[in-house]
Symmetry: C3
Subunit: 347 residues, 3 copies
């Protein structure tokens, strides 16, 4: 799509400085803007880029003062950052979502399909599957038997959802996600081999959940592994069987949660965190990246470290870990000095 | 399927207390049991849930004493946990496995297919592939040329197996698994670029191996990367080229093993473990979560920590890591005190 | 394919000792060589295997001295390792790449396809996709709308590439890779829920990039997440939105890079490394396995540890971490001794 400066200025209630008819077809960052794109300038650290940007159109704050002429057209607005964000959202909403059923796809005759949905080619829709209205199932997605999908759900290409899983409204599931694979449960036999424990539960995503690419969430042994309303789970995360992740909890990439652990609401997890099994993390807990959590954590704690400890303590411990060679030297020196002193005193 | 209390009691050689004709169609945990489900009570900690569970039918031990009336029907058995496990297995065995070939699928004319197999829609079966009897290949699976699959194997939706890999009998491969991608081998050129080293080997899974969702096991440079009989590998694990994992070794999610490392039999790995390349881990080794193993480990050792150390030492070191601020304060105070003492003595 | 000893000796300008007409069809390691295969002996540590190898043909150095008779045929060459590597490359080049379009596949009518390409069954080629000459798109690959693929690219089975991503010449993308999923960006609302920030950018792989199995690289919020020319990214790696990875940088499995971080050229990352967001790693930086990088790193530094520190310091700190129990004992003993000494002196 093409927009000219006047249309954008009118939409944003801004004023134009420069060429009114210049058109843009895309958005860019001011530091690497190309002709035909729109950028914004909000952070004064980036002012220097305005004078050399290739972007055709730049949003700036009303009170921004030019130091010298620029080659791009400016649109002055109250708040350049917010104006840009509103354009970003507008831009994305302008993309008409796909609808209809592409061929070939496999849709079991017992499946119930909502209105205005999209099913991409090579998608597999098993027996008794229900798909809500306005949902989009991209190509090569697998929905096992009895899977329930809510309204306005997007499941990107190649995600795999095992039998009996349930997905709430407005969820987004990225490519390569696997929901509902068998929990990792084996009982040791006397001869050292293992017997598989049947995993007959499922995975439930409540409404407004987003799951990042190639993340895996295992089915419960029985009952459900549950991701509660509004939780956001990044890429390459592992949630084991019988876990729960609370409402509006946000978890960065590569975090792993072992079996039967319950995580509270409104928590924030950095990347690469490991969480032991069968523990309970309270509400509002914040966890630094690469933390190893080995026991229960109470509400509203901020923790970090391997093993986890209070954040302030972890910051100190990490600084001192780097200083261990000096601390060790000090201890060795102290031992020597004290020994010498004692010997001197004996004389 | 529907079962009534009498049928279940008869199968378990149990006795009914309550409504003999009540029916159940599913299984649940006692703490969140719903009508129409069967639960069990074994751990006394959960006794309180018996009086408020919604489950219709609950298995209890013969010697369990009721404190007050319950609304559910009870079946008394010798051991409620074992009885429940046997029902769980029965329940899962009652699910009739899919058979037949769904359309469209791609099956090279040179492929050899066993009896009673299932091939899902959009599965790709390359040239000279052999699939044993009773094996199930779910939709969107890719089997490259010359892949060999044993009997009673399950390969879930979308798993990808490169050319020449071999899968033994009774293996289970979960969705999104990638077996046989090129090992990560590059020779540096003088100009800083890299030349790819051909990786012409394969991956071999021996019998009774289970591989978790989205795990990757790379092909050997030549010869085979081997997962030996009965090993169980969880989700999102990386096994690099030329590795071997021993019989009945169990590895939890997100563990990574670098190239050419050999891991022994009957080992247990916690999650998020890193193992260096070209080392040897003995038999019966136990490894705590988030451990970093940088050198050989002898048989039957239990290790933990980053870097790995004996388990007991690691427990102590972790406690002291949290105490580093106090240890440092002590050292600083000792230095000061000793200096003061020396100065005093000089006078 | 079958080769006899004479053909191979001629190709390598080597001399045969033994049966000239013996044929081989595959390559093996000398320690597990089977009849009908060719192996090599270069490292003297492996000399012992020569006398018991099952391989039919073994390359040895011209100056190698036999201690006793062998059952295999030898070919003597100037440098057995290099000769073997050249055969390995020859072997791989001898495999004729697939070409043509398998059915069923989904190719939008607006897609532009180069010459001599392969498109596997169940591959999905979206609107306006361009695919260069001699590129191979394996079965079940997804290419979203407007994706551009260069010449001589290989995309293995089931890789998923979202709309608008661009792949340079000679790239190799392994099975299960996801390129261009939404960056993990959410703005907190006052009620604790999150608003999704539109991610309208893409992923760009420059020429000669290789991406390992099940790795995920997210689309930029706007502009591009860029993997520069010649970079090699292993399996199960996460590169977040707005990142850049420099030319010829090599990254081992399970490393994660948080958003907006820039990594320089010719870096080497060990496995399981975590890199914080919004930081800058210089050129020529080397990073040990399981390192946590929390701030900028200057050119040509070698770092390791959690948190990252100079390599030599990290080696010492790790040794001392294992010794923390003894260091702590020393500090406790010193405190006691000093206290006793002071008390003695008071008297």
């Amino acid at each position: 799509m093409k927009f000219n400066a006047s249309m954008i200025a009118e939409y944003l209630h801004g004023t134009i400085e420069g060429e009114k008819n210049i058109t843009v077809t895309n958005i860019s960052r001011i530091e690497d803007g190309k002709p035909g794109t729109l950028a914004f300038l909000s952070n004064p650290k980036y002012n220097k880029y305005l004078y050399k940007t290739g972007a055709s159109l730049v949003l700036v704050n009303n009170d921004f003062e030019l130091e010298r002429p620029v080659s791009c057209t400016l649109i002055r607005v109250e708040n350049a950052y917010e104006a840009f964000a509103s354009l970003l959202t507008l831009y994305q909403q302008s993309i008409v979502p796909k609808t209809g059923i592409e061929n070939p796809s496999f849709i079991d005759s017992s499946a119930k399909l909502g209105t205005d949905i999209y099913i991409g080619a090579f998608a597999y829709i098993g027996a008794n599957v229900c798909i809500g209205d306005h949902s989009r199932i991209y190509p090569q997605v697998f929905l096992g038997d009895n899977v329930k999908i809510g309204n306005n759900v997007i499941i990107y290409a190649g995600a795999k959802i095992y039998d009996n899983c349930e997905i709430g409204d407005n969820c987004i599931i990225h490519a390569g996600v696997v929901l509902g694979a068998d929990g990792f449960g084996f009982a040791p036999r006397e001869d050292g081999t293992y017997e598989k424990i049947p995993q007959i539960g499922n995975v439930v995503l409540e409404d407004d959940v987003e799951i990042g690419a190639n993340t895996t969430i295992d089915a419960s042994t029985m009952g459900s592994t549950i991701i509660h309303k509004g939780a956001k789970i990044d890429n390459l995360i592992q949630i084991a069987h019988n876990c729960e992740v609370g409402e509006n909890t946000v978890m960065a990439a590569m975090t792993g949660v072992a079996g039967s652990t319950k995580i509270g609401n409104n928590c924030m997890f950095g990347g690469h965190v490991g969480v032991a099994g069968h523990i309970k993390i309270g509400n509002g807990v914040k966890v630094g990246a690469m933390t190893g959590i080995d026991k229960n954590v109470k509400d509203n704690n901020t923790i970090m470290g391997l093993p986890a400890m209070p954040y302030d303590r972890a910051l100190k411990a990490m600084v001192l870990y780097r200083k261990l060679p000096e601390i060790h030297d000090d201890v060795v020196a102290l031992k020597k000095e004290l020994k010498e002193l004692k010997e001197q005193l004996k004389k």
